[in-house]
Symmetry: C3
């Protein structure tokens, strides 16, 4: 394994300009080596940085960065440090890839300490790290990276170019598509949490289903995705799941969703395509969220969301605007109570006056 320190890469301004497809306004030599990409505050005079909003323009002025990536509409087309691009975020993504140091990966082949069942099929180009366990009839695809201490259950299939980081456990009979990345100590395919209560005891329901992770999914560290009772738990193509997320048995997550840390999806929850769930969100058993539903952090969704593109907030979650109104109302309460008191006083006076007239 050969690795190079960040500042030994000798990436030049010209390479960066090419990678971004941008126009260099900065008065710098195209052959100048750039040390790295850094935030405006951290950048040294050897570095490149970026600005994606006018609110950072002051920070940009005092930044030591040699070059600043930005859109002409934000940075101005004649900024003396500008590398002008149409899509700042995409340009930054390109530059990050340029500066990414060589990854820490197992060597091609099977580490001598790995325990690979003789009936397992491991592609010749796969990299199987130290202390990995691969069960009977499991399959690992071409160019897969299986880091130290991973355990792959019997008959489980790991697709081409997957990367499973240290300590990941995939139970038996699961299917992981191509180019899936699963971060360290995540668990795929543990039993769903299903019991029936009979004669004073919780009787376990055998979970004979499985888990299917489609292509291009990324799963965060210490996340858990349980196997189905029958059928499958499924994570759709290109969906990205953060750390410490809980996906229960028989959940169906559509493609291109974003599921942030500590989200809990209860049994048989269904998410459409492109849903976005903020941190700590909970979704109750069997609830359906239509395509493009967005749920704010800390919310609890108790009922189906049929309208695509809905925005929800609160516990229990309701329409985002209605929830905000409720919050404002509560904060208007003290004034309302004052108004009631004032009314009571006035009505008492009016009543007193009326009585005076009647009895007067």
């Amino acid at each position: 394994m050969a690795e190079t320190a960040v500042n030994e890469m000798n990436i030049t301004v010209a390479q960066i300009v090419a990678a971004t497809g941008g126009t260099l306004a900065a008065r710098v030599d195209s052959a100048m080596p750039v040390r790295t990409i850094a935030s405006l505050a951290d950048a040294e005079a050897t570095d490149i940085s970026w600005v994606d909003s006018k609110k950072w323009l002051t920070a940009a002025e005092v930044s030591k960065a040699a070059i600043i990536i930005g859109a002409p509409g934000v940075l101005g087309s004649d900024h003396p440090k500008a590398l002008l691009v149409k899509d700042t975020q995409a340009a930054v993504a390109n530059v990050l890839e340029l500066f990414a140091p060589p990854a820490d990966q197992p060597d091609v082949g099977i580490h001598p300490s790995a325990a690979v069942d003789e009936t397992a099929q491991v592609a010749a180009s796969a990299r199987i790290g130290a202390h990995v366990r691969i069960g009977p009839r499991a399959r690992v695809g071409e160019d897969a990276f299986i880091h130290a201490g991973v355990s792959i259950g019997a008959e489980t299939q790991i697709g081409d170019a997957c990367e499973l980081f240290g300590g990941v456990v995939v139970y038996e009979r699961c299917t992981v598509g191509a180019r899936v990345r699963i971060h360290a100590n995540a668990v795929i395919g543990a039993d769903g949490f299903g019991y029936i209560y009979r004669e004073g005891q919780h009787r376990k329901l055998k979970h004979i289903g499985t888990v299917v992770i489609e292509d291009d999914v990324e799963i965060g560290a210490n996340t858990t995705i349980d196997r189905a009772k029958v059928g499958e738990t499924r994570v759709g193509r290109g969906t990205k799941i953060d750390n410490l997320v809980m996906v229960a048995h028989n959940v169906q997550i559509g493609p291109a969703c974003i599921v942030v840390g500590h989200v809990g999806l209860s049994g048989s929850v269904r998410l459409g395509a492109g849903c976005v769930l903020g941190g700590h969100v909970g979704v109750a058993d069997g609830v359906y969220l239509a395509d493009g539903t967005q749920v704010s952090a800390m919310s609890g969704v108790m009922t189906d969301v049929e309208e695509p593109g809905s925005r929800l907030f609160g516990a229990p979650a309701q329409d985002h605007n209605a929830a905000k109104r409720d919050l404002l109302r509560v904060r208007r309460l003290p004034k309302a109570l004052d108004r009631i008191s004032e009314l009571e006083k006035k009505v008492a006076e009016l009543e007193g006056a009326a009585n005076d007239r009647e009895t007067g």
Copy 2:
């Protein structure tokens, strides 16, 4: 290890009828092999499914399933696909066990890559997988399954017929009863989170206590159960804990509780028997929940619950019905504010009229 694909089991209708103790109304040959048990929607013509509520009767009508398990009161006693049973859920549990494929388990004995201390006692019938570590004077009972990469600390005892899945860590001096299942990457016996703040620093309190898991407990993937400061953290017999749950030092969980994903129990919390805590619930330090307390998902319990069978909701949690009333009240607020404005207008008019009379 011999394994058979689901559809190679050749389980017949007769075997299923026997397993459920039900009565077959469906016009099918008792010798017919059934492929698997599946949901109504997923079932093929070779499969069995089930209905446990009349709300699924429409789905049952269009299901391709050959046989549908259900109670006569739900399905009707002459349904052409019915396998009539008294307790549908229990019948389904039996059928799931019938169709459960052979599990992915280590072979009997100790895998050559395992590191078992010479003073540890491992029962002859136990199965110790690859890369397992068992510490000094630890004990592993008969018929235990210890999967790849598990670490069992010094003097820890693992009871008969336990199953510890990949990557589980049990620290030293813990006690795990019989038939306990601990899912992958769960951690038992890490230090409790206890410090005292002195001279600008958090000084660690040594946690010299332990953890006791009673018989028939199941613990989910990536759950953590901390050791006691002194004495023991205890999980009662038959309690079931989901994934990513946090059980702090000195917590006492009674028997037959249900603790759902992402629950956090703070130090010295005590749960009676049969409590049910929904997802993301938090319980504050030292709080006591009486037998049978039920706490809805996303709630935070700050004070003791003395009344058995209480139902709680909200953060801070209160009686379930009171919490619901509070929610409704907030949603009635805009109308109340309108009513106050209306009153103010009328009172102003009345005051004007009264003034007119006085000054008129």
Copy 3:
């Protein structure tokens, strides 16, 4: 490895008195061996216990403990079982250390099953357990304890006297200071959760930054601390993080903070010194909490907190007292609604009377 059972230590009353620096009022023989330290309820006649509040005095009276640690102002200076100290918590901390049994630690040196890259530097006094993996050019300091199944990435540095428990994964190029304890299955340095949405897909942003854990930090089991996009994610000196906490990319945590279980810190969150975050707290992207900010459990912080020592509560979080007032207001609502109804009735009567006068 030599270990001794708790009750074989023969720690005497005299040793305990010396360790606490207290004054023995109890009529016990200084040479008497004490079995262990236990809670008031659990203590046997051979044990020592403690009282740190008058609310436990009744429990102290019925406790079987031979000796009870406490302050004169709580316990009374002539209590027949008292070991009188100025700082009860600190005295208990000392006694816990006295009774702490020998820890379960790997032997000095490298376990034969460990996979240590030939370019890694492991100090001679370090203890590397079974099935550990240490990557190229990584460094492990003097007196470090690296338990079974830990994985240390390429170029990562682990400081002197660190303890990494079973299954911990530290990705490449991270820096862990001295005396840091990381509990089992925690993950340091996984990719931050950063994507840009282009052409219907989430494009991954390479995370080329790193993680720095300063000296004397403790990190709980199954906690995850992600690497920075650029620059570093940093945890300040002496900060203590509980189990199942999520620290996202580029978060900066100051020194001496307390971060309780299930907390989620979103990308680029900054905590000052000495902040305390309760269980399940979430903090939104980029939010800043000033020194000494305290956030109650289950709260969600959406906006910066500029005032040092602020106390927050609620989701969204606001000033603790304001949040409590809001709660009380909601609970005063039914009465307010009654008052409005009463007013409406009276105003109607007044209007009726006024009409009578006009039309009468």
